[in-house]
């Protein structure tokens, strides 16, 4: 094992005997571009709605629930898809989130929530995790579209304007503290 590693290390550290410097630099550059482009394209693909609802856990539960809500259907035709709210937009945070989400692939393979009953039983845990995440990042995904600076309180209802200009403005509360269950149904809130 040690010998094997040493042999590869020696190959890596010695100059190439067969390939020209031009091939290695240009080839490396082109290879890098192809790899990077392919990597990001593949990752973007996992951000599409089509990918999210390709498993029935998402399609039959949460996707059905978002459809009557304002984030899916509204007068101006702007729509937020799954990744708009559930995946950060900045690359570093997106990578971190994607790595966490690999656990969902595990859950999909082993059928952790492959029935409606299992989903409902686990919903509180799933929702709580998402609320905690949004609380921790100050509702970043909400604010990607709903910018506090751009809000016109005079166009809001009195209740909305009161709360937004007080608790939200002071930073005591963040979007998710009040706006829960707006895109999906709430879990059993009475159970501990």
């Amino acid at each position: 094992m040690r010998d094997l590693l040493r042999r590869y290390w020696r190959t890596l550290t010695r100059p190439s005997a067969h390939y020209s410097l031009g091939f290695l630099t240009i080839g490396g550059f082109v290879g890098g571009v192809v790899f990077w482009g392919g990597f990001n394209t593949a990752m973007e693909f996992t951000n599409t709605e089509m990918f999210c609802i390709s498993c029935h856990e998402m399609r039959d539960n949460v996707y059905q629930e978002i459809q009557p809500t304002i984030h899916f259907t509204n007068r101006s035709g702007v729509r937020a898809i799954c990744s708009d709210c559930h995946v950060p937009h900045d690359w570093t945070y997106k990578m971190a989130r994607k790595m966490q989400a690999s656990k969902e692939v595990w859950g999909w393979i082993f059928g952790t929530i492959n029935t409606r009953e299992k989903f409902l039983a686990k919903r509180k845990e799933l929702a709580a995790r998402e609320w905690e995440r949004l609380k921790a990042n100050d509702s970043l995904e909400c604010r990607n579209c709903h910018e506090f600076q751009a809000m016109d309180f005079t166009r809001q209802s009195k209740r909305g304007a009161d709360d937004h200009s007080a608790a939200l403005a002071r930073g005591e509360k963040t979007c998710i503290d009040c706006h829960r269950g707006i895109a999906h149904r709430l879990p059993d809130m009475a159970s501990p």
Partner: protein
């Protein structure tokens, strides 16, 4: 004679049916086989101003939008503000004490299951004309009316 009566009855039936069909205010003037014209949807009132109750026992109307409010066995969106314990922070009208009583009048710790589904009685308001005319008058107006001579 019998035959004449029968014809008269059938004719009267036709006329009556026609009269009713034309005066059904919910359907409008559409013929029987066709659907009436659907009035456009209107947004619910959202001004947070209490409306006057038409009579003392009337369930107060809802002065705000309740689109997509979830009220089921898992959660009650209304109670996130109107619950007794939440009203202090939100300044919403807390649900009245009658909602804590079961049908025998015993007081419960939480909202009684029979009073759980808010929108069975409390409804949002929309600016539309009533489809059926009515002659409702506030009881106060009737009390104040001078006695008929």
């Amino acid at each position: 004679m019998k035959r004449v009566l029968l014809v008269v009855f059938i004719l009267a039936g036709f006329l009556l049916a026609k009269a009713f069909a034309q005066h059904d205010p919910l359907r409008g003037p559409a013929p029987f086989e066709e659907s009436g014209k659907t009035p456009p949807l209107v947004n619910a009132e959202n001004n947070d101003r209490k409306r006057v109750r038409s009579y003392a026992m009337q369930p107060p109307t809802i002065p705000h939008k309740t689109d997509n409010y979830q009220v089921d066995r898992f959660a009650n969106k209304c109670l996130t503000c109107h619950a007794r314990t939440r009203a202090g922070e939100t300044q919403a009208t807390p649900v009245s004490i009658t909602h804590y009583q079961d049908r025998d009048g015993n007081f419960l710790a939480d909202v009684s299951p029979r009073r759980y589904f808010c929108e069975q009685c409390h409804v949002v308001q929309m600016q539309t004309q009533p489809v059926v005319k009515n002659r409702f008058r506030d009881v106060e107006a009737i009390i104040k009316k001078p006695a008929a001579k």
